[in-house]
Amino acid sequence: MKAVKLWFAWLLVGLPLTWGVTRSIQKALPLFKTSQSQRAPSSTTTPPNP
């Protein structure tokens, strides 16, 4: 029973965290596909995440 509780608790926090990390990795992918030709004006603000 204790193991079930532990699994449940860690799953409950792990799932949203995994979802968030996956989304961030997807967002970061263009960083690794970048080329020098990708030049654009830099007026966009992104969410600060201190």
Binding site: V13, G20, S24, A40, S42, T45, P48, P50
Partner: protein, 505 residues
């Protein structure tokens, strides 16, 4: 010494297993409460509490009800803490609401006469962060006195209540309601929720305090990773021709977060007095720490407190210098697109979160002073390297270096509670931590302004955008060196600050 008196009602010393769980069986007749993970109270375990007082004393919120029952595994406490930190960490993703909040009336585009401006909306985040620091500082002693469950529930009430008030503010287009809701009341929830589980975790993990606080504070870093995309998805779902979807998103997030934070509050427990992991003997610093305690009001007057305050403030100022401007800096320095810049910011968020856990856990091996020397000295070297990576066009190296810098910035956040414990003991470490958080509050407000001002002034002076950040980066390296000096000056607290029997300092 009210806290000490209250602690005496905790059950004394349970035998325990190697995994940190307690061996004695739960008392009969107990009802498993929310999510079936907790126990309604533990006062009957304690012979000092009269039987007839049980119903009154053993309320769900009383500090005694939070004492761990038999069979409780300490590994349930980190997810309970993370559940709260994941929710309140959403504040760092609040900027996804900024732009939609400027077109509440116009819906598709801002209405020049009716809609709020970005600077007006920006105050919501600033007020929330200011209240985080203030509430943590002022209410830290209350959190210690009432225990983590009560504090977590109060945090949930404030944070989720603040979201609901903000939803009303958006619906009726009253900005002051959002300032009051998300900023003022929600900010109090942030402060309470941030410090609530920290001292509890360190009591459960005296053998690995860095790991324990790293896990919780990693949750705060991860809050934005979850909250920002969740906000975007929900706004997309609720968007219509008559609504930007912000009010509905705030409302739904309030409900979801209250359930999640409720789970954390229901699950959290404090160890019985005298409990310790089986096979673990306090040695070295831990043994010294066990012999003394410094109350929050005395810690406040000790130079060590202000040195650590400076350590945190300088670490945060330097880290935020990059994090707050990450996307723009990447675009300006390497001429990449806004999409790539946003990807860079996302990548840094992951390192910020991961660093909180990894570096803080590592500090259990190295000691806190040594790890902060690494953060500051290695960080300063890396900051000084960044202009060179731009000049030589080494974009991949730039990304790698900034990722390491940000991981250490996160590590600095997560290691500070364990550092405080080493210096002041666990007695009121949560309250002391609360007062130290004013450093973060201040640095989070001042740091980005400093970086923004310097880079903007350089650009206005005609310096190429790619080189506009160089002095800022050198300045950050300098701040880290000053932080290192403050860290090196930290010494054990003078014995006159130690609490003695009876509570006198």
């Amino acid at each position: 010494m009210r806290e000490c008196e209250e602690r005496t009602v905790a059950p004394q010393g349970f035998p325990n297993r190697s995994d940190g769980s307690m061996r004695t069986q739960p008392p009969p007749g107990r009802l498993w409460i929310v999510f079936g993970l907790g126990n309604g109270g533990s006062d009957s375990l304690n012979p000092r509490i009269p039987r007839h007082s049980t119903p009154a004393v053993s309320s769900f919120l009383s500090p005694e009800a939070v004492v761990a029952p038999a069979g409780f595994s300490r590994w349930l406490v980190p997810p309970a803490a993370m559940a709260v930190h994941l929710c309140i960490g959403e504040v760092y993703g609040f900027s996804v609401f900024n732009e939609p909040l400027t077109r509440i009336v116009g819906i598709t585009a801002p209405s020049a006469e009716m809609d709020w401006t970005i600077p007006q909306v920006g105050w919501i985040y600033s007020i929330a962060l200011m209240m985080l620091g203030l509430s943590a500082a002022v209410l830290g002693k209350w959190v210690e006195r009432r225990g983590p469950r009560c504090a977590m529930l109060a945090s949930a009430g404030c944070f989720c209540g603040g979201l609901l008030i903000s939803a009303l503010g958006v619906h009726f287009h009253q900005l002051w309601l959002i300032y009051l809701g998300y900023g003022f009341i929600g900010g109090i929830g942030l402060g309470l929720g941030y410090i609530a589980p920290v001292s509890t975790l360190m009591k459960w993990f005296p053998d690995r305090p860095g790991l324990a606080t790293g896990l919780a504070i990693m949750g705060f870093g991860g809050g934005a990773l979850v909250g920002a995309p969740l906000g975007q998805e929900l706004m997309g779902y609720f968007r219509s021709t008559t609504s930007t979807g912000v009010a509905e998103t705030f409302g739904l997030m309030a409900v979801a977060y209250s359930l999640f934070m409720g789970f954390g509050a229901a699950t959290v427990r404090v160890p019985a007095k005298g409990w310790r992991p089986e096979g673990w003997e306090a040695r070295g610093l831990a043994a010294t720490e066990a012999k003394f305690a410094v109350g929050v009001d005395r810690a406040w007057t000790a130079p060590q407190f202000w040195l650590l305050w400076a350590v945190l403030a300088l670490n945060v100022t330097a880290g935020i210098g990059i994090l707050g401007q990450a996307s723009l800096m990447c675009q300006d320095m390497f001429g990449v697109s806004a999409t790539v810049g946003a990807g860079f910011a996302g990548l840094l968020s992951i390192f910020n979160m991961g660093g909180r856990f990894l570096w803080s856990s590592f500090s259990d091996k190295t000691g806190r002073k040594a790890i902060y020397c690494v953060y500051f000295l290695f960080g300063a070297v890396l900051y000084a390297l960044l202009p060179w990576t731009q000049q030589s066009g080494q974009q991949a190296l730039f990304v790698a270096v900034t990722a390491v810098i940000i991981s250490m910035y996160g590590g600095g956040f997560a290691t500070i509670p364990a550092y405080l414990r080493d210096i002041f003991g666990t007695h009121q470490v949560g309250a002391i931590h609360g007062r130290l958080i004013t450093a973060w509050s201040l640095a989070a407000l001042v740091g980005p302004q400093l970086v923004n001002y310097l880079s903007t002034a350089r650009k206005a002076a005609g310096v190429p955008k790619a080189e506009a950040y160089h002095p800022t980066l050198y300045l950050m390296a300098g701040l880290l060196i000053v932080g290192c000096l403050c860290n090196l000056l930290v010494r054990p607290v003078d014995t006159r600050h130690h609490l003695r029997e009876g509570g006198a300092a």
